[in-house]
Amino acid sequence: MMEILEYIGLAMVLIGGLFLFLGALGIYRMPDVYNRLQAGTKASTMGAMSVIMGVGFIEPDWFFKSLIIVVFIAIANPLSSHALARGAYRASLTPFMKKKMDAYEKEFQQKKED
């Protein structure tokens, strides 16, 4: 029984590591800050959650601790990426677009006219 849990945990650590690597590759390949945040946030959230849950399975004493940490990550990670994206837009970093589709721009134009 313990061995099965350990193998599940090792598999989760491996999968998490793989997703973290793909996230890092995404940060390298994507063209601008918003697309990089997309790749970074999703992969790092899932990767970190998977690794930490895997540790919880390998070491059953830590299971509930890792569960709490996973919940914290699920709440905190998207918040930080939202703050970064909003800050980047307000620092007038123009998003990379093949065809211009920017509904957010009008918020700032209205403010200038006021």
Binding site: Y34, N35, T41, K42, Y89, D102, A103
Partner: protein, 169 residues
């Protein structure tokens, strides 16, 4: 339900939540640990009560618990899908992206529910919430298929919003 009983219910819910976190971290049922945990979580809730107003004890009603577990299920599937989506885009040589920022409207009124929806949108395939002004979300979409707010709302947020509307009346 009047205001004072609502705040009592919120207080008890937060106390219970803090106590569960304490139990998770100590993983011990010794009486001394339990009493210390109850006191420490009480102090924490008294200090932070005005910030913690997401939900009250009514969250433990069976139908709400059902929708919460349904939400967690739908969300987990979406999280795995979004990671496979990122992996596909990153690994394909020509980088298939067509990014843009779209706006969608939400019917949610509860502030906490809006925050949950924004976080969920960030973790679901191809979308990242950039800003929320009133009930309008601005969303960076890695592969824009429609610029119409109503169509976009259906594609990005509908399945989560429907469940959240049932949890937060």
């Amino acid at each position: 339900m009047n205001t004072s009983s609502l705040s009592v219910s919120k207080f008890l819910y937060n106390w219970l939540l803090m106590f569960v976190v304490w139990l998770g971290f100590t993983t011990s049922l010794a009486p001394a640990e339990l009493i210390t945990g109850a006191i420490v979580s009480l102090i924490v809730v008294v200090m932070t009560a005005k910030y913690l107003n997401c939900c009250g004890l009514d969250i433990f009603l069976p139908n709400k618990l059902f929708y919460i577990s349904k939400y967690i299920g739908v969300f987990s599937v979406a999280l795995i899908k979004s990671n496979i989506d990122v992996a596909k885009r990153v690994l394909s040589p020509n980088l298939p992206i067509n990014p843009g920022i779209v706006e969608i409207e939400t019917k949610l009124t509860n502030e906490f529910a809006k925050m949950v929806l924004a976080n969920t949108i960030t973790l679901t395939p191809g979308t990242l919430s950039v800003d929320m002004i009133g009930s309008t979300y601005y969303i960076h979409w890695i592969d824009v298929t429609t610029e119409d707010p109503i169509e976009a709302q259906k594609e990005i947020a509908k399945q989560f919003e429907d469940i959240l509307l049932k949890i937060f009346k």
